[in-house]
């Protein structure tokens, strides 16, 4: 049972393959250089990772051409991507995949299967058109209007109008899965207008999406599959945050061993040593909660994900902030990678609901109610 908290051998093999690819194709200098270009996502790298290693179709069932893996394997890939802050739409594509898988169950079988098949081959990349900050337990959603209204299961064609802001991983997507007014639609990405957003996280550039009487295909009525997809995404994001925190700690430990002031390595001062040791303790805990979140199912999944998001979001930000601080002046410059991690860490902690939002949700799940409103 508690073996779920460890990494299996196939998981370590997968990690090694992804790490090798990223080491040669996405060193931080290349990642930084790309941030100044009109191509914020690395299409070639995504091809090698998604189609080559099979990360795109990792959780797609084998019957549809995928690897038939679970979120645990996806989480291992995310750890490595977090270490490299690699500009690939893995998380967005995974979220859309999880959504399509969830709505296969609710009767959207054939259409969902076809999209999943194309995702598995790497033929198409998908994203969910939803603000990246949306938590799994969102209560209101939708700035889009749908015609004809109300949708019916017999009529699959609809038209969407409106604007969705701050969507992650939609820029390189070929197909958008769109929650609108209580139902879920699919739209070819080329049919919507996508405007890149100047994003805090330069390695996961957001976009705003404009729909203007855009033709869409109804997949299912109801939002339950979306909740499950966001829960899966939040579980995998926790592992990405873990990987980022690990890399920040490694970089910082390496630096404080070599940087000398007052005739000593700065890493010999307890003022830094103790903070790094505390960070290491936090990261060891992040590993345990992230593994649990990637493994949990059923009712336990929501609790495990809330714990992992509350913890890993905080730890990743702490690691990136310490990385900047302990690098001193060089850590505050553009030509050092620390800022890439800081921007990714802070953005990721706002994504899919921030730590306090996850704690509030957790309180409901474990029956620790907030105080009654004062009269």
């Amino acid at each position: 049972m508690s073996d779920e908290l460890l990494y299996s051998e196939p998981e370590e093999d997968l990690r090694a393959a992804v790490a090798d690819l990223l080491a040669t194709r996405a060193p931080w200098s290349a990642v930084l250089a790309r941030t100044g270009t009109s191509e914020p996502y690395d299409a070639d790298l995504w091809k090698a990772l998604g189609a080559g290693i099979g990360a795109a179709g990792l959780v797609v069932p084998e019957s549809l051409g995928g690897a038939g893996a679970s979120l645990r394997e996806a989480a291992v890939v995310a750890e490595e991507l977090g270490k490299a802050v690699a500009p690939v739409p893995f998380l967005g594509n995974l979220t859309a995949t999880a959504l399509l898988l969830a709505l296969r169950e609710s009767g959207a079988g054939d259409a969902a299967d076809e999209h999943l098949r194309r995702i598995a081959t790497g033929e198409q990349t998908a994203a969910v058109a939803i603000p990246f900050s949306t938590p799994p337990d969102w209560t209101t959603i939708g700035s889009l209007s749908v015609t004809p209204w109300p949708p019916s299961a017999e009529v699959h064609e609809a038209r969407l109008t409106g604007r969705v802001t701050s969507v992650a991983d939609a820029l390189p997507a070929d197909v958008l899965v769109v929650p609108a007014d209580g139902s879920i639609y699919v739209v070819p990405a080329s049919e919507a207008r996508r405007e890149p957003v100047t994003s805090l996280d330069m390695t996961r550039v957001l976009c705003d999406i404009e729909f203007d009487d855009t033709p869409a295909e109804l997949l299912t009525i109801g939002y339950e599959p979306l909740r499950l997809a966001l829960l899966a995404a939040a579980a995998v994001l926790a592992s990405e945050q873990l990987g980022l925190a690990e890399r920040c700690l490694d970089l910082t430990v390496e630096y404080v061993k070599t940087r000398r002031q007052f005739g000593r390595a700065v890493g010999s001062y307890q003022g830094l040593k103790h903070r790094l040791a505390q960070l290491w303790v936090q990261i060891a805990q992040a590993r345990a909660v992230a593994r649990h979140a990637a493994s949990a199912t059923g009712d336990e999944q929501a609790i495990a994900v809330a714990v992992a998001q509350a913890h890993c979001s905080t730890v990743a930000v702490q690691a990136a902030e310490e990385c900047v601080q302990m690098h001193g002046g060089i850590g505050f410059t553009w030509e050092h990678p620390a800022h890439l991690y800081l921007k990714r860490a802070k953005s990721a902690s706002l994504a899919l609901g921030g730590p306090s939002r996850h704690r509030r949700r957790l309180a409901e799940l474990v029956n620790l109610p907030p105080s009654a409103p004062t009269r």
Partner: protein, 399 residues
């Protein structure tokens, strides 16, 4: 009698235990007889060698064995009461003892017939244990010991003590130490309770005046005491690691229960604080579980040294919040009587007791500051602290 061939899988072990239980019905066999038989069958501490209570098996098999015995209603050796013997004395005896010493001490230790205590810390040597001043001087076949030890749990019930004393003051502090086993009934051993800020006295001070120890009770070579003591201290932290606890199993469970059952203590600012600590508790719990799984899979990780640090911090924060929530009730304390508990009981006492007792968690068994040094130096490989006393003979150190 089950065969003494080593089982290669948990399955074989289960069969062995089943066979043992069939031959020694736990409901009709006297407690001590049962425990001695279990030791002799190599089913006590499985990772110990054959003939000394084990079968040289991986440590990770132990929890399953304990479960099997517990499910059969077998008596245990009251591990909490003999924790120092099991966790610290035994591994050191195993590593450094002569065959004769191992045969004499390990069986009654494991069976709980003889309680052990640890005479390491002194008033002048806490975190800097190697600076200790208790002297042992050779006198024909014996050693004569003088000095004062402190923070000794179970000294008032112990038959044996592990003791580190200075045998050579003319060399730097780490080099002049020797490790002994002391019979606590020897004349000149005086045990006094040490009352702590909670009111009770879990610990003792031990005064040693012209105490004679036979040279046959020395563990390891003369002057090698520091290296021998490292074995003891490393095992102390492994022992603290511990097995699987259920969700809300620790102090956080008591705090959560207070929150659930007493709506009048709830306030909005404390709610997020409560949830932060709940998350921290769950993170610490899962980390402990992951550590156990790593040990069971034969991949020991350095997470063990972090567990004690994390739990100390968490206990202090949780018990502090509990008092904050209780308000007026937090002003009241349950009992300042000087009692002599064998073990720490966080559950049966008042929230004020939990608050006070948990202050010791970041001091006992390595302060949090020392633990952070250890993680920084041994795990992260950061430079060690500057040691002004490293090459100076102990007798010349400023004191």
């Amino acid at each position: 009698m089950p065969p003494l061939t080593a089982p290669t899988a948990p399955h074989d072990l289960e069969n062995q235990i089943r066979g043992f239980l069939a031959a020694h019905d736990p409901h009709t066999t006297a407690r001590l007889d049962f425990l001695r038989a279990r030791f002799d069958a190599g089913l006590a501490w499985l990772h110990y060698p054959p003939g000394l209570g084990g079968q040289s098996l991986p440590r990770g098999l132990q929890p399953a064995a304990e479960r099997a015995f517990a499910e059969a209603g077998a008596p245990d050796n009251d591990p909490r009461r003999i924790g120092i013997g099991l966790g610290m004395a035994a591994p050191t005896i195993l590593a450094y003892g002569t065959d004769e010493q191992k045969q004499r001490w390990l069986r009654p230790l494991w069976c709980g017939e003889e309680v052990w205590c640890q005479l390491f810390s002194e008033p002048g040597a806490g975190s800097d244990l190697a600076a200790l001043a208790t002297r042992a001087v050779r006198d024909s076949g014996d050693w004569v010991v003088n000095g004062q030890k402190v923070w000794t749990s179970m000294a008032h019930e112990a038959r044996w003590a592990i003791l580190v004393a200075r045998t050579d003051p003319d060399v730097p502090k780490h080099q002049g130490l020797t490790y002994f086993v002391l019979d606590m009934t020897t004349p000149g051993v005086e045990v006094r309770p040490l009352r702590q800020l909670t009111g009770e006295a879990e610990f003792n001070e031990v005064f040693l005046t012209d105490v004679r120890i036979p040279d046959a009770h020395r563990l390891g070579a003369v002057g090698d005491g520091w290296r021998v003591a490292q074995t003891t201290l490393m095992n102390e932290r492994v022992a603290i690691g511990g097995g699987a606890t259920p969700r809300e199993g620790g102090m956080i469970g008591m705090l959560a229960e207070t929150w659930r059952t007493r709506p009048e203590v709830r306030d909005p600012a404390s709610h997020d604080r409560l949830m932060q600590l709940w998350v921290a508790g769950e993170a610490a719990r899962l980390t402990g579980q992951r550590l156990s799984a790593q040990l069971a899979a034969g991949q020991p990780g350095p997470e063990g040294s972090a567990a004690k640090y994390a739990f100390a911090t968490l206990n202090q924060q949780v018990s502090g919040l509990e008092l904050d929530l209780l308000g007026e009730e937090g002003l009241r304390y349950d009992d300042w009587t000087m009692r002599r508990p064998d073990t720490v009981d966080f559950v049966g006492r008042s929230p004020g007791y939990r608050y006070l007792r948990s202050k010791g968690n970041s001091i006992e068994g390595g302060t949090s500051e020392i633990l952070l040094n250890i993680i920084a130096e041994r795990v992260l490989g950061l430079p060690g602290e500057i040691r002004a006393d490293k090459d100076v003979p102990w007798k010349d150190l400023p004191r």
